[in-house]
Symmetry: C2
């Protein structure tokens, strides 16, 4: 393990991850290989979650048949672009994530009991941490040279009924993946400034 | 804007962001400059959120006086390391985020009405997106060469009462920031595999 002090990444990397990256509405039609989807997860998995709880679950929708199962859950504005994307990740969370804590937080065998039988805490922890992992996911895809089209505009209940009928897994958000078509990127919307969102005390 | 196709970042960058980065419990005591805290936000702000809603708010706790206001809200296992960290970010969310949509999602002036008067949707959207932005925040800090010590182990209600008494802003999680002391890093916990968390359809 490299434990040396780190400095800032080169500007080109910061551009690729944050400054020049955009939400994509169209993609090069070439398929995205399964190895690329695995490579994204193999980065995401290392980044931190509450008590190493890792509630994120991902269903990668690549095949035509699986895309058709997703169609009815998509909002009208997101339907065509999602049906055409090389892959659509359903980022979801496992409401039984805490059952794995005796293995993944092995130095404290009480961790499971912090959550068991507490549905509100389970839901909040799963939503919070699968969303944090969703942020890592977008960064990991971009770090590997892929473009993302994340969206909340879909019917979560329909996705859950179709793909997660046992009610243990709940959908969080969707993310189209591929190599973006820059001609279909929208003008960039305004960002809030540091001074209206942050304060240093 | 560079709209050229991107490839994977160099291995050293992937190591710094994901593979070698660790949750830090101790930090070099040197102060972290305000310019570095601003630089983190100037990356985070570009990454995507639902309808460009940007609900994340950040209070950076740097001064001794502000740290003392935080002390009582910290869990016993997180207290000493947080009091000693060069800065502690309180990552929070604004329950009135939708009031800014007429400016930040200007091409659709109906966006504000999707949320107004719907407290459950507001809460879920704010928690989801401020958490996604929390994932971006950790990646941005690492990309700039800083180390993170994120934690959920604190009393959210006490933080909110002390720092956000108007009840509009709610704390999400905390993140210590600085240059990490690698001698205080814990053994790495097990990560879930691709095959137990992901599926390709």
């Amino acid at each position: 393990m490299d434990t040396a002090a780190t400095g800032p990444l080169p500007d080109a990397a910061l551009d690729q991850l944050f400054r020049n990256a955009r939400t994509h509405n169209g993609f090069n039609p070439d398929p995205i290989p399964d190895t690329a989807l695995r490579a994204i997860y193999e980065l995401v998995k290392w980044a931190p979650t509450t008590a190493n709880s890792q509630p994120l679950r991902v269903l990668f929708i690549k095949s035509r048949a699986a895309k058709e199962r997703l169609r009815a859950a998509l909002s009208s504005g997101n339907r065509d672009k999602t049906m055409a994307a090389p892959a659509t990740a359903i980022l979801a969370y496992d409401l039984e994530f805490f059952e794995k804590l005796p293995r993944t937080f092995a130095h404290n065998q009480e961790a499971r009991s912090w959550f068991a039988g507490q549905p509100a805490l389970i839901e909040t922890t799963a939503l919070r941490n699968s969303s944090i992992q969703g942020g890592y996911f977008i960064m990991a895809a971009r770090a590997l040279g892929y473009d993302c089209g994340p969206m909340s505009g879909f019917d979560n209940a329909k996705v859950d009924a179709e793909f997660f009928p046992d009610r243990r897994i709940k959908s969080n958000f969707l993310c189209n993946l591929g190599h973006g078509d820059w001609s279909k990127v929208m003008p960039r919307n305004e960002r809030l400034t540091f001074d209206e969102t942050c304060e240093i005390l």
